[in-house]
């Protein structure tokens, strides 16, 4: 699995997502609560070791559509993002494959950090159950070229 597939798989294991039965969609969101969207927004080289092995960082935006009918629900929403951020920071060691040219290189997930979880948008025609939250996720991984 490449880094996007690995992150999708990891997020699917987050208890509050797996219990809800929600899927992690890629790029395109559903407007019903509770749905999650993972969007890849960039990948950069962090450093290269003397053997040519790379450590890279992949950036994602994670969107979540929650119901936010009252303060109680909205606190729950922000708390879920905080829990997700802490839970992601404990994840590492997953095998990541990266295709370089025609060669499939293996590596591993080094760390995941997440932050900036916040209410991002409220749909005009659905101010109760269409609250869209956003969080940035950064995944560092190696590529053994």
């Amino acid at each position: 699995m490449n880094i996007i597939e690995v992150m999708k798989s990891i997020l699917s294991e987050f208890p509050k997502i797996s219990v809800s039965g929600s899927e992690i969609n890629i790029d395109l969101a559903e407007n019903d609560p509770t749905s999650f969207v993972l969007s890849s927004v960039g990948d950069r080289l962090v450093y290269e070791d003397v053997l040519g092995g790379q450590t890279r960082q992949h950036s994602f935006l994670l969107y979540a559509v929650f119901s936010g009918i009252n303060d109680y629900e909205r606190i729950e929403n922000s708390s879920a993002l905080t829990e997700l951020s802490v839970w992601l920071s404990t994840r590492s060691g997953d095998i990541v494959t990266t295709t370089v040219g025609n060669v499939e290189c293996t590596g591993e997930l080094l760390s995941v950090t997440a932050g900036n979880g916040r209410l991002y948008a409220v749909e005009e025609d659905n101010t109760i159950t269409g609250m869209r939250y956003q969080m940035t996720v950064e995944a560092q991984y190696t590529v053994d070229i």
Binding site: D49, V50, G52, G53
Partner: protein, 179 residues
């Protein structure tokens, strides 16, 4: 050994450094080469030339060149049991405070500057000394120094099946003394 040099600037991975993880110095050694450099951003052989400049009473300058004291500092080594014998030996040196011959082995440098399977190589006895262990979050680190200890031998390293010189690091080499 006939030489057919590659063209263009050599990539950093063209200079390969190996440590013999058997840690067994003998007349006809059987090497088990462990490649050095994973997770290491900067690795240099510090030659430490020993040169002393003196000036006599006639204001003439003389230079006394007494050779080199080369060493290498491998500042990042993540303790990794999948490195096999090398990990076990480094762990034992560090945790049991081993000294002397227990730390002595061979190192081999290969400069992949030619086309083909045969590359020029240099083997030398060396002492491996861990500098610390533990480190910051992210993994157990055992940084170590390599102190070259003489009996340097020039020879060749055979990378069987090598077609792309940039992939030499992926093939275990066989050292043969002499050109």
């Amino acid at each position: 050994m006939s030489e057919t040099l590659r063209s263009g600037k050599l990539k950093r991975s063209a200079h390969l450094l190996y440590v013999d993880s058997s840690f067994d110095i003998k007349a006809t050694p059987t090497h088990a080469w462990h490649i050095v450099g994973k997770n290491v951003e900067d690795l240099s052989v510090e030659l430490n030339p020993q040169v002393e400049t003196t000036k006599n009473i006639l204001d003439e300058t003389a230079i006394d060149d007494t050779g080199y004291e080369p060493s290498i500092s491998v500042d990042t080594y993540f303790a990794d049991p999948s490195d096999g014998a090398f990990y076990v030996k480094l762990r034992d040196i560090a945790m049991n405070r081993l000294t002397g011959d227990a730390c002595r082995t061979y190192v081999m440098e290969v400069l992949v500057d030619q086309t083909g399977e045969t590359q020029r190589a240099w083997r030398e006895e060396a002492v491996i000394k861990p500098q610390s262990y533990g480190g910051a979050q992210g993994g157990v680190r055992i940084p170590y120094n390599i102190h070259f200890d003489g009996n340097r031998t020039e020879g060749t390293a055979e990378f069987t099946g090598l077609t792309d010189p940039d992939k030499a690091k992926n093939i275990p080499p066989t050292f043969t003394a002499g050109l």
